[in-house]
């Protein structure tokens, strides 16, 4: 075990995969000589060369499309979108070509798209988005969103080994703020949920950066000693329905937190699953906390007004506990 930041854990997974498997290839804008906008691939070009740590033209559709071509002839491309927002420019290739390929033709597309996502640092409307729900609605694409350094590395290894397209949502705000013990070498973290904090009175279901917000909100001293569970989904596709229903059965009260815009967010699907299959276990309405349906604003007071805060989540828990 070594202590790594979330960012170092991602770098470590990529480096291990490049060393272990010659089919693995990094593609992205400014990832080679510059080492990436966030320095995730810093120094990689020296160890692995410019072919395997490829500085591409500024063309997201081409990055995804060429990665698909490389994948179907035996490579294991890992694409970096400089910011997850830019996947809108590669949307068609990912959704229509990669996502539908296996269903239509039985042809696997082993492809990972790394999507630095999320707000909290005045990135504004085009550098702060959480676009995972776009792809949840598109069959054939897996989506994972780690909240810890250990899961960041383990989920990335699993994603690169997976024979399908995988969106790896790496939260920018966690890059250097979160650190933890990480096992050495290659290990696979399953695409399932994890109980980040066990409890019995209420469960907060969330993922990514909001796990840390939920953990802070759930601290017992702030909620008069109530026992609050935090379920970290880790994977959105596949969605760990069993883990969600298990937490609901034990806790009976549910708060769902999304950093993304509320309408049709991942948490909306979680709420639907609970309504359909966990209704009898509920002891109160399903409560959601999410960003309102506005672009993520730039100025700090506006951005903070939009992103779910510890206080908003705590207040939601407090009200539901009193129900």
């Amino acid at each position: 075990m070594t202590v790594l930041t979330y960012l170092q854990a991602i770098s470590s997974a990529l480096r291990d995969e490049l060393r272990a498997d010659e089919r693995v290839l990094m593609m992205g804008e400014d990832i080679g000589v510059f080492g990436g906008a966030f320095k995730v691939t810093d120094g990689f070009i020296d160890e692995f060369g410019a072919d395997r740590v490829m500085d591409t033209p500024l063309a997201e559709s081409a990055i995804i499309g060429c990665a698909i071509g490389a994948a179907v002839v035996g490579m294991r491309p890992v694409c970096e979108m400089q910011f997850s927002d830019f996947i809108s420019c590669g949307f068609d290739q990912l959704v229509n070509v990669a996502g539908k390929m296996h269903y239509r033709q039985g042809l696997a597309v082993p492809l990972v798209v790394r999507l630095p996502s999320g707000g909290g640092f005045s990135g504004g409307p085009f550098h702060s988005q959480n676009p995972e729900a776009w792809f949840m609605h598109s069959p054939g694409i897996k989506i994972v969103a780690p909240s810890t350094a250990e899961d960041a590395k383990g989920l990335l290894h699993t994603a690169i080994h997976d024979p399908n397209p995988v969106c790896f949502m790496e939260h920018k705000h966690l890059y250097r703020r979160v650190k933890g013990e990480v096992p050495e070498g290659v290990y696979e973290t399953p695409f399932t949920a994890r109980v980040a904090r066990a409890g019995s009175d209420l469960v907060v279901v969330t993922y990514g950066a909001m796990v840390h917000v939920a953990l802070e909100a759930a601290a017992s001293e702030s909620l008069d000693g109530a026992s609050v569970e935090v379920l970290d989904l880790r994977s959105l596709v596949p969605l760990d329905v069993d883990a969600i229903l298990d937490s609901v059965a034990r806790c009976s009260k549910v708060v769902i937190v999304d950093e993304a815009n509320a309408t049709c967010a991942a948490g909306a699907q979680v709420a639907a699953v609970i309504a359909e299959r966990g209704f009898e276990d509920l002891d109160g309405p399903v409560v959601r906390v999410a960003a309102p349906d506005v672009p993520i604003p730039f100025s700090p007071p506006l951005e903070q007004a939009v992103l779910p805060s510890v206080e908003r989540v705590r207040e939601a828990c407090r009200e539901l506990l009193e129900y």
Binding site: A62, C66, M75, D92, N96, Q105
Partner: protein
Amino acid sequence: MRGIEERAMSLYRQGKVPGSFYDGFGQEAISAGAAFAMAPEDRLCILHRDLAAHIVRGVSPTRILAQYMGRSGGLTRGRDGNVHFGDRHLGCVGMVSMLPDMLLVATGMAMAFKLRGERRCALTWFGDGSTSRGDFHEAMNWAGVQKLPVVFVLENNQYAYSTPVDKQFAVDPVEHAAAYGFVGLTVDGNDVEAMFEATHDARERALAGEGATLIEAVTMRMHGHAAHDDMKYVPTELVEEWRRRDPIDRQEERLRAAGVDVDALRASVAAELDAAVEEALTSPMPDPESATEGVFCAGEAEPLGDGQAPWSGFKS
């Protein structure tokens, strides 16, 4: 190709082909000529007016006809329609309806070949309408920057659905090739031997490390965009003029001059295709229970296999 499409059109009129029906009548020389120039280890992204390429790679007429009819014996087992297929075992990737997308997939395959130092080539077809979308530029640019072994075959058939080329581009797209740093040339798309020669040369350039080629194959879409389209927007004289340049008639003349018994050949192909129709009709419709299966790959990812290219004229 024409024989299969004629029979498929007849099945469509009988209500046995769901959705619409798309063919490449009059454009057969483009896919046939280009596909013949490719080796088994090459990889193809095949579009909707290019049925001959599938046949050259080794797909049986029965499976193609079953595909049109949405049968379980079709190449996508009813999961996708008409010419939206590619046999992965034969080195082919099926198209999507966003037509220029496959330009990038072919470019990516060529990128992998170059990275691995393999003497192979990727090829894709696309139409005049595709040149208007960004993926055309992104693929051409990427292939030029990385000097990739890829052949782009632009089928200029004068119309993208109802939109004529003069509303599609101000400059003939073949002229873009020079700006991207590779060879662009215009070929008579109704001459199968000219298509073969041009593609063969493009492949040689690709394998020699000289990068991509853009081949503009000039032709005419002789039928509507799809079976429901009566093509009223096309001047009759234009269609008549192109009918005199039919690629199959032209090749037939050459074959007769070379002493080939074309009538016997036609009869044997017709018998084979009639039998294929009968066989395809016996293929059951897919089980509705299977509609949700196979969205994800559950086992190992298997890359594309080699084409049989049984009649490939390619000589390395």
